[in-house]
Amino acid sequence: MTRGGFVPESRMHPPQWMLDLFADGALAPREQVEVEAHVASCPHCAAEVDASRMVIGALSEMPRFEPAPGFPDAVMARVQIDTVPWAVRARRWLPQTRRGWALVIGALTAPLVPVVVLLAWLLSHPMVTVSGLWYWGTGHVRDTAWNVVAGVIAAAIERGNVGWVPELIAVAARIPPVVLLVAAGTVVALTFASGWSLNRLLRTPSGGVAHAH
């Protein structure tokens, strides 16, 4: 046997499966060469290879069949294709009227109003300056954020789930104070807006019907 253990020495015949795969060119290149050398000098194996090649030839001549002419239409009739482009689908979610746009913009900007009013009120005091407010705000937000991070880490350590903590710390350390301040401001503003909306809703009688005059 050769070192690969597949092709016997020249006087021994390769197994039939190997001759069959050789006929189909499906052996590894080295084995293909070795079997070819053997077949060239062995009429018995050459006859085996010819028999395999005859079967392969007959199989390769088998034609492909054509389905009925209406086949593509029959398939397409059964398939529900969403031919609406994504841009059109996205547009369905956008407001269709000026009033709708006004409502959306109002809803998005409303949370900022209390923040602006609060800032204006604070800055109306002679002791309060913009830089002082900024220093106080960023410091306060940073302290709060770190307290939250420390609390989360402590909780994770207590529960034994700390694998993601180093990643969280790395992410938190990269966040600029400005982003933290904006995020905190947004949260505060949204809280105010939610409270205000809830208050309005609770004061509005339910089940009322609006009539056109």
């Binding site: 007959a58 034609p63 397409m76």
Partner: protein, 204 residues
């Protein structure tokens, strides 16, 4: 005056399977139709030779395409589209064979026929005078010695041998389609060819 193909049609025809899938996902009916045009014959031929009944093969080939198109968003582009569609077609055909009523009349004769003589004795001559010319031709082709011999193979051998020699797929892709190791595919194909040699020798 008859106009030539539009630029978009030319682009669709020239596109690769992966590009067509991307377009199909964005809702291009032309892309779906081009995929159909490319694969309807290979898929139908495989399924037809598996179930050996034209009407059922049409239904199963349709089912294959419907499944493919309805799940096109799940197609993983790291595999060849042809592998994916052949895998679905093969599974659809195998399911049909499993469901098939054992008394169904086969073109090749009784399902229990084991030797070429038994196959020949129980074989149904489908080339009747009522059949249309195309079906009569196909029936004659299916009734040919090699088709008959292929029809006697176990379904997994049949799939492997058809994918290899009719569709010209490499062994690795056949392994992917059939979801079996490469060595198993080589065994299937070798055993199928050995059986075919024996059956063809008997039929001659």
């Amino acid at each position: 005056m008859r106009s030539g193909p539009s630029m978009s049609n030319v682009a669709t025809i020239a596109a690769t399977d992966s590009e067509l899938v991307v377009r199909a996902r964005s809702g291009s009916e032309a892309a779906y139709r081009e995929l159909l045009a490319r694969y309807q014959r290979p898929v139908f031929s495989l399924v037809y030779r598996m179930v050996r009944n034209r009407e059922q093969a049409e239904d199963l080939a349709q089912e294959t395409f419907v499944k493919v198109f309805q799940n096109i968003t799940r197609y993983d582009p790291k595999y060849k589209f042809s592998s994916w569609i052949f895998k679905i077609a093969n599974n659809v055909a195998l399911d049909a064979l499993r469901r098939r009523n054992p008394v169904t009349i086969s073109l090749d004769g009784a399902a229990h026929a084991e030797t070429a003589e038994q196959v020949e004795a129980s074989r149904t001559d489908v080339a009747s005078e009522d059949a249309n010319p195309l079906e009569a031709l196909e029936a004659r082709q299916l009734g040919g010695a090699i088709e008959q011999a292929v029809g006697t193979l176990r379904p997994e051998y049949r799939t492997a041998i058809l994918l290899r020699h009719v569709e010209g797929r490499p062994y690795e892709e056949i392994a992917e389609i059939m979801d079996v190791p490469l060595g198993t595919v080589k065994t299937y194909i070798h055993r199928a060819r050995s059986e075919l040699r024996g059956t063809l020798a008997h039929l001659r």
